[in-house]
Amino acid sequence: METADLSHHISRRFNEDLERVRNQVLAMGGMVELQLANAVTALIEGDSNLGASVGRDDSKVNGMEVSIDEECQRILATRSPAAGDLRVIVAIIKTITDLERIGDEGEKIGYIASRLASMERPADKYREIKHLGRIVSEMVHQALDAFARLDSEAALRVARQDRIVDEEYESIQRQCITFMMEDPRSIRRALDVMWIVRALERIGDHAKNICEYVIYMVHGKDVRHTRLEDIERDLRSRSSGV
């Protein structure tokens, strides 16, 4: 009787541990989301203070990554989780790496934005970047929602958007090249813009990665480097087959 009680107790504590780490990941995600939004706003509105503040926030995100990592190591060492629990821990360890990278890219955008703030802004007020930034931060938001709900279908939907990001990236790149050819004086700014767009494109990739971890967490299937159509077909056959 006593042993049964004890094991129940341990598993409850274990559940709480897992739940706490998951919550920390989402809190970290919230910080990263805000950082990204601030970085893009800093660029669009030419607010150099806001841009610089993004860099300062990044240390908080880094600190959270380290503490979540330690917590995961502790869980792995003391609880030796198996099956679904193990997948959750592995997915969390991977997710926070991607979140941290998103934070780094956000910091980069903020830094460039605070530098561009002192320059004259182009006539289109970075409309394309605004559009791309919106798609990308929407992706990050939905990826984290899917993570919170363990919703693999939503994760798949988000992952599919990465293609749009790539197309936008291409189109802004072409536009920048045109600007540079037309007016060599704009090369400097165009290069900075390229850096920002590149960072946004990378953030899109990281959001897609997070979605893949969600699918891994739910279905136990590693879907990295797999074509989206194949994943989709696979998931559908699983859900209908079982």
Partner: protein
């Protein structure tokens, strides 16, 4: 005698009578006990029949009518029927109440989310579901901070200071601001009220922008006017126009000051969060402020500085300087040449306190609550004379607000006023031993 006992008594009497009858009949037939047994068997059979009737009615009492029974059985049936009716009545009332409650919360213009101690969602109304994009099917039992991940909200949820709502954008990609207010009730239960404040936030932003832009736009033409007036007034050929032109210069100066104060205020307002800042040497600042007062053409006879603590104040130097100098300036302006004023800085367990006391005319009590409003004048004629912008105390209030501090005003008409800034203890920085007293 209660009706119950009388019924029991009646039944007992009836059985006794029946037994007596049975015994008599049996006695006539030759065996009295056979008669008694016959009566008992009949009675038992009747009882079983009644019990069976009652039982089958209880099994499907929803549809069937209660059985007709007499005697004690009839009483039992009546009691059961009454109990059953009462229960159904209460159940219906509760269900109706619950339906009403659910309908009314669903119709509420604000969102409501009920949370358990861990912050997991127990229930939410339709509006909250719309606002936060929650689905009743999937999201019950999940934690609210998994969906509203804004760091400010997470901090608010984990803290225990719920008096003021926190305003955040739940989705950073949408221009939608929600005010979240937590309300504790019962044992560790919490209710989260949500209100859409996008309009208010936008209006407030527009107001701030308008003031900042308008002041900025007014500054350039005013500089030109002031410049020309200065050149003209230096010209010896203006003759009797000297008076009016000097007055125009004075007024232009005043306008410049008002605009500068407005710009300063909107700069303080541009950001709402508390500031971190660096340690500020209050003693040095107070000494400088004293010097400024003594440099005025007319100044109070005595200006004392009492520094009773060596602690520094952590804050934004420009903002604190602006707040303190506004207070000192006011005191210097309103203290008559023969009066005295005291600047004091001290610390205790509550935090740091900076006070400016004067022996001026004092402020009537009814004006105190409105004193920090913009352009509020106690005595319109007098303050225009002294050339104030009417924004000084508004600046003080806002600068203090950004430091988590508050302003206290004590004033006795005819005797003088004391303006005290109370800073929280975490704003203090004790480097040297407090021995400057």
């Amino acid at each position: 005698m209660t009706p119950g006992t009388s019924a029991v008594l009646f039944v007992t009497l009836r059985i006794a009578a029946a037994l007596a009858l049975g015994a008599t009949l049996g006695w006539f037939a030759g065996a009295w006990w056979l008669g008694v047994c016959g009566v008992l068997v009949l009675y038992l059979a009747w009882n079983l029949w009644q019990l069976w009737e009652l039982h089958s009615w209880l099994r499907n009492r929803g549809v069937a009518d209660p059985p007709d029974a007499m005697g004690l059985w009839g009483d039992v049936v009546a009691q059961v029927v009454r109990l059953h009716r009462r229960k159904r009545f209460h159940k219906e009332r509760l269900a109706r109440l619950f339906r009403e409650l659910r309908r009314s919360t669903a119709a509420m213009p604000d969102g409501v989310v009920m949370l358990d101690p861990k912050g997991e969602i127990i229930w939410f109304n339709r509006k909250a579901g719309e606002m936060l994009d929650l689905s009743r099917r999937a999201d019950l039992g999940l934690r609210i901070d998994n969906f509203v991940r804004h760091p400010d909200f997470v901090q608010y949820l984990r803290g225990n200071e719920y008096s003021a709502p926190v305003i955040v954008r739940p989705d950073v990609n949408q221009e939608k601001y929600l005010a979240f207010q937590l309300i504790s009730y019962g044992e560790d239960q919490r209710m989260l009220m949500l209100r859409d404040v996008t309009r208010e936030v936008r209006l407030e932003q527009m107001r701030k922008d308008f003031v900042a832009n308008a002041s900025h736009e007014l500054r350039s033409p005013l500089t030109v006017i002031a410049g020309y007036l200065e050149t003209i007034s230096a010209d010896p050929g203006i003759g009797e126009l000297a008076g009016p032109i000097n007055e125009m210069r004075r007024q232009a100066d005043r306008m410049t000051r008002i605009i500068e104060d407005l710009l300063e205020l909107s700069r303080f307002e541009a950001n709402d969060g508390p500031i971190k800042g660096q340690p500020i040497d209050v003693a040095a600042m107070a000494a400088l402020l004293r010097k400024d007062v003594l440099a005025r053409t007319t100044h109070p006879a005595s200006v004392e500085v009492a520094i009773e603590s060596g602690a520094s104040l952590i804050g934004d130097e420009a903002m604190v300087q602006s707040a303190f100098s506004n207070l000192v300036d006011n005191a210097a302006k309103y203290t008559p040449p023969g009066g005295s004023m005291t600047i004091r800085w001290w610390t205790d367990e509550q935090g740091g306190h900076f006070s400016v006391r004067d022996t001026g005319p004092g402020i009537p009590a009814e004006h105190l609550p409105r004193l920090t409003e913009r352009f509020y004048r106690v005595d319109p004629g007098r303050s225009r004379e002294t050339g104030g912008s009417g924004l000084g105390l508004a600046i003080v209030k806002h600068a203090l607000y950004r430091h988590g501090a508050r302003l206290e005003i004590d004033s006795v008409e005819g005797r003088g006023s004391t303006f005290t800034c109370h800073f929280p203890a975490e704003r203090l920085f004790e480097q040297r031993a407090a021995a400057n007293g």
